[in-house]
């Protein structure tokens, strides 16, 4: 018998990691759960929507908001009392109560349980040491370099020893993973208590005008730790007043509206639950290859790249930098480099597959139709030519690439100087 928290999983196990195994280094991310959404929804009415009313003397007063769960002693001794000295409720008043919790969310929101999800990939702190060892920038005098300069790939643009644009190549990356979030749906009922129809109208107008999307009746609610959700309000606002029976009842106007919030649980911090947030570092790649050439310019797209590899350099990007854009035939890491200030990605001629590594016995990936332009010398004539090659097949498992020569262009010395 086990739960998600104590499922045993050993090294090499091929089963899905549910997020709480012993692998990886534990790190922390803010938790998010039911209470955070309750608080965010409460704050929507308490802080974001300015629910006020005008008293007889013209004083503008904030309407108290109560989450209907309080203990007697706490409700009766609030700093801002909601009862007068005789114990009667002071209205206008807005009460919020959570009326339900559904363990599933809309299928358009809820994601499947894939064990863990990667939420962030970034360069490891050890990457700087590694880059120095492999001399990725082709510095002349590096004692610790394990490779000779002439065997290195072309470096990024440099000026005066400074790198002008980020260059993401082979490196040590760390990936932060969390267990698949648990999605759920919360329903709330908001009741507006007023003595006057005018006050009721004012508050309802205020709420109806404050939707982000007027037609969909939605508001964005945000937790203190930065997670945000969408509160969707039902179209119907029910009215419960005592106008028909004022013989026995006091005159009170109550309007009720319902709202639903689709939320999720991330990294719950409760006694007995281990942290599910892990930091995994990529293995150092050792590659035996000869690289000679420059890639075509990376395609820019129109859609924001949501893949985490596109956001590796987010921490050095400025607000003026473009966001990583997704396009067919472009790699997320190249987009990340461009978004972080790169003028043009000058990567290697290795075709868009970063997984070529020694000892990789994983699945063989194949990529076709990527175009590489290589500048070389004709072995027979000794003349400089530009040969455009088309990759037909790249196999990780066998370390082979099948290229097809599709165009050959002879270059003069002037052409070469202009490059």
């Amino acid at each position: 018998m086990s739960t998600r928290f104590n499922t045993k999983r050993k090294y090499g196990d091929k089963s899905i990691d549910l997020g709480y195994s012993e692998t990886g280094e534990r790190v922390d991310v803010p938790s998010c759960g039911i209470e955070d959404i309750d608080r965010a929804f409460f704050n929507l009415f308490d802080k974001d929507i300015p629910i006020v009313y005008a008293k007889k003397d013209g004083e503008i007063k904030k309407v108290p908001i109560i989450f209907s769960t309080g203990e007697r002693f706490a409700i009766n001794r609030r700093k801002e009392p909601v009862r007068d000295k005789n114990g009667a409720l002071i209205i206008p008043l807005v009460t919020i109560s959570r009326t339900g919790l559904d363990q599933k969310a809309d299928r358009l929101v809820e994601m499947g349980d894939i064990g863990t999800i990667d939420i962030k990939r970034r360069l490891s702190k050890e990457d700087a040491v590694y880059q120095r060892l492999i001399n990725s920038q082709n510095f002349k005098n590096v004692d610790e370099a394990t490779s000779r300069r002439e065997n290195q790939t072309s470096a990024g643009r440099t000026l005066g020893g400074r790198l002008l644009e980020p260059s993401l190549g082979v490196g040590i990356y760390e990936t932060i993973t969390i267990p698949t979030p648990k999605f759920f749906t919360l329903t709330y009922e908001i009741t507006l208590w007023t003595q006057y129809v005018q006050h009721s109208n004012d508050i309802l107008t205020l709420i109806m005008s404050s939707y982000h999307n007027v037609k969909a009746r939605t508001c964005r609610i945000e937790t203190d730790s930065g997670y945000w959700f969408v509160a969707t309000f039902d179209s119907d606002i029910s009215t419960d007043n005592t106008f028909d029976n004022m013989t026995d009842d006091e005159r009170v106007i109550k309007n009720s509206l319902k709202a639903t919030v689709q939320g999720f649980i991330i990294n719950p911090k409760l006694p007995g639950i281990p942290s599910g947030v892990r930091k995994l570092s990529s293995a150092t790649q050792i590659s035996f290859e000869i690289i000679n050439g420059v890639n075509d310019q990376v395609q820019r797209g129109n859609v924001q790249d949501m893949r985490i590899d596109g956001h590796i350099l987010d921490n050095i990007a400025t607000v003026d930098d473009p966001v990583p854009l997704q396009a067919i035939g472009s790699s997320p890491s190249s987009q990340s480099a461009m978004a972080a200030g790169g003028l043009q990605t000058a990567g290697t001629s290795k075709i868009l597959n970063p997984d070529t590594s020694v000892g990789d016995t994983g699945t063989s990936s194949t990529m076709v139709n990527s175009v590489t332009r290589t500048l070389t010398e004709d072995p027979i004539t000794g003349q400089q030519v530009e040969i455009t090659l088309k990759a037909r097949r790249v196999s990780n498992a066998h370390g082979e690439e099948v290229l097809t020569n599709i165009r050959k262009t002879f270059k003069t010395n002037n052409d070469l100087k202009s490059r």
Binding site: F42, G70, N76
Partner: protein
């Protein structure tokens, strides 16, 4: 009744008579646990506190209307739940500058109760500023709501021996009796309308024979 005939002296007289019945004859006590909402950590959204901070308990003379527990039995077993109604003397509370509030806790015997209602019992001869006392309605507080060691006499339970009150001592307006300071005040004595009782507070001990009432002292 007209204010012409019910003067402040009558009000004091009625008050002292009731104090005498409650404090010097009946002798029931409750222990009142005020919650310190100002220093208790209260959840800002749910307005609840798992760990409440209390002022020291206050011993209060009272008339306790004891009712047997309500026992509910279902597929999970039995659930025994007590309710209580207590009446306290209004003037006695104001003498001690003490105010009771809903949400505070009381104990009677070994059971703790949360006050769900604090209501005025009646006005003295229709004079709105004078009330006879307060009726406290309490619901049993389960473990976790308040975790204090009960004070005072306690009945026999499954796992505890009964705690018997060793002695009962009257107060009779004296500043001190055998049990210590009384905080008792009788208005007619304080105003010089009545003399202090010559024989002082009487007491009853638990040896079965010694009682001031029977002249055993």
């Amino acid at each position: 009744m007209a204010r012409l005939f019910i003067t402040p002296r009558e009000i004091d007289f009625i008050s002292d008579l009731n104090k005498e019945i409650v404090k010097d004859i009946i002798g029931q006590k409750i222990y009142y646990y005020p919650v310190r909402a100002d220093i208790t950590s209260i959840h800002d959204i749910y307005e609840e506190s798992i760990e409440k901070i209390f002022d020291p308990p206050v011993e209060i003379d009272a008339l306790v209307d004891w009712s047997p527990a309500e026992i509910k039995t279902n597929k999970f077993g039995t659930d025994k739940f007590h309710n209580i109604e207590v009446r306290v003397h209004a003037r006695d509370l104001s003498d001690k500058n003490f105010r009771m509030k809903m949400g505070d806790f009381i104990s009677y015997g070994s059971i703790f109760f949360e006050l769900t209602q604090v209501n005025t019992v009646s006005k003295i001869f229709g004079q709105v500023e004078h009330v006879t006392g307060y009726k406290l309605t309490g619901k049993q507080a389960r473990e976790g709501l308040i975790d204090k060691k009960p004070l005072g006499p306690q009945a026999l339970t499954y796992d505890t021996e009964p705690v018997v009150q060793e002695q009962f001592v009257q107060q009779r307006g004296a500043e001190q009796n055998d049990l210590g300071p009384t905080n008792d005040r009788r208005e007619l004595q304080a105003d010089g309308k009545l003399d202090t009782p010559l024989t002082g507070p009487k007491k009853v001990t638990n040896d079965g024979v010694s009682s001031s009432f029977y002249g055993d002292e």
